[in-house]
């Protein structure tokens, strides 16, 4: 019998493995980003290119697009591991599944959430946001996109191995995303109205902490259940 490895070494090993996997399939990584940019640029075309409208709605538009882009990328979080049997090996590891799932979610955020944040200033400029607002938008995305990945992972774990997976994830996860959306976009709007944003940021931080510690628990439980789907 082998001694179990330390949590941190297992965490790092999964991190390394999934980053390597993401890097080998880097052409797939661009898709959510392209979607993000296109979705945002649809609003000036579809609603109104007026400067005052965009400046007012811009933060909300970028947030909605970021949310949808994350959603788009969630289906792949566990699916490929499920299909080639790697997920069985992960679930049967003597190390806590909690840490493994957390590492996988971190990689998901690094390859989707982080690029979205890096792109957001450009989109903020296109939406005529002021430089303060753009900084704040980036900050809210920094606190909010991890929550999207974490909560989304629960949906992905519940639907892994199901044929209708992709559509179902949106149905399960979108209602849970609403608080993050309200306060993410709300922070930028509050700042535009000259209000203090400390409370908003604190709340986003609270969501982040809560999701960080609880979502892997639910996702791990969901993964164990989903092993029945074959």
């Amino acid at each position: 019998m082998s001694m179990p490895q330390s949590i941190s070494s297992v965490f790092m090993a999964i991190l390394r493995r999934d980053m390597l996997l993401a890097f080998r399939r880097r052409q797939d990584l661009a898709n959510p980003l392209v979607f993000f940019v296109i979705a945002v640029s649809l609003f000036p075309l579809g609603v109104s290119p007026e400067k005052s409208f965009l400046a007012e709605a811009g933060a909300g538009i970028v947030w909605v697009a970021a949310l949808l882009a994350t959603l788009l990328s969630l289906d792949g979080l566990f699916r490929s591991d499920f299909e080639d049997g790697s997920l069985e090996q992960l679930v049967l590891s003597p190390s806590p599944l909690y840490a493994i799932v957390l590492a996988k979610i971190l990689v998901h955020w690094l390859v989707t959430g982080l690029p979205l944040i890096l792109l957001s200033p450009i989109l903020g400029l296109m939406m005529y946001l002021s430089s303060d607002q753009i900084v704040l938008l980036g900050l809210t995305l920094l606190l909010g996109t991890p929550v999207l990945s974490l909560v989304g992972a629960i949906g992905a774990a519940l639907t892994v191995g199901l044929r209708v997976g992709g559509v179902l994830i949106s149905l399960l996860v979108l209602p849970l995303y609403i608080p993050v959306l309200i306060f993410g976009a709300g922070t930028v709007n509050a700042a535009a109205s000259g209000l203090s944003v400390a409370g908003y940021l604190a709340l986003l931080g609270a969501f982040f902490m809560l999701a960080l510690v609880l979502a892997p628990l639910a996702a791990a439980a969901a993964l164990r259940i989903s092993m029945t789907n074959s």
């Binding site: 199901l162 149905l171 399960l172 979108l174 209602p175 608080p179 709300g186 969501f207 809560l210």
Partner: protein, 248 residues
Amino acid sequence: MKVWFYRLGSPKWFYDIAGRCLPWLAWSALLLIAIGTVWGLVFAPADYQQGNSFRIMYIHVPTAFLAQSCYLMMAVAAVISLVWKMKLCDLVIVAAAPLGAAFTFLALFTGAVWGKPTWGTWWVWDARLTAMLILLFLYFGVIALQHAIQDKVASARATAVLILVGVVNIPIIKYSVEWWNTLHQPPSFKLTEKPAMPSEMWLPLLVMVLGFYCFFAAVLFMRTRNEILDRERRTKWVRELVQKVSSR
């Protein structure tokens, strides 16, 4: 204790008990709702501001109550199902989810109908309304997941996890939208306080709420019994039951 607990979890036992309660529940539901309807619509006085339109409250309030109670009940069942693996709870969840969705929809619909004359609009993005809409989406998610997973046990467990995640989120959602925007009046009924309306208005409401709860329980029992029969169709007692019924 353990024996009692397991007996409670036994589908056959529940089937018998629920069957015995069913007529009582159904009749009291019918009676209470009939009394409440007549009382509320005919005898209760009109409101000094809203006139007669406030009477939709007699449907709106009970449905809104039930929409939330039903989710809460499902959450309790989900915990029991996950921790003690009691099969009956899975069946109750399957039976309850569409009911909860229906009541949520009714609450939203009657709210819209009520909102038009009082607020001047069918729909506002108000905290309570938005929270209810999200609750409806949560119900849809639960129902969709239930049907998407073939294996009965896995489906029940996965649904239970989803319901619990939703329960953690419901207060968050509730407070988020409440801070965001509010127009809806405070609850008309609080357990701790005397209602802020005269008794000839709230007594019929109380009767209606009780009636709706009985109705909910009756339909839930009926649906759970059907689920039990379907799930246990290969057991001896169900076969004997079917033979008895068909020979009659």
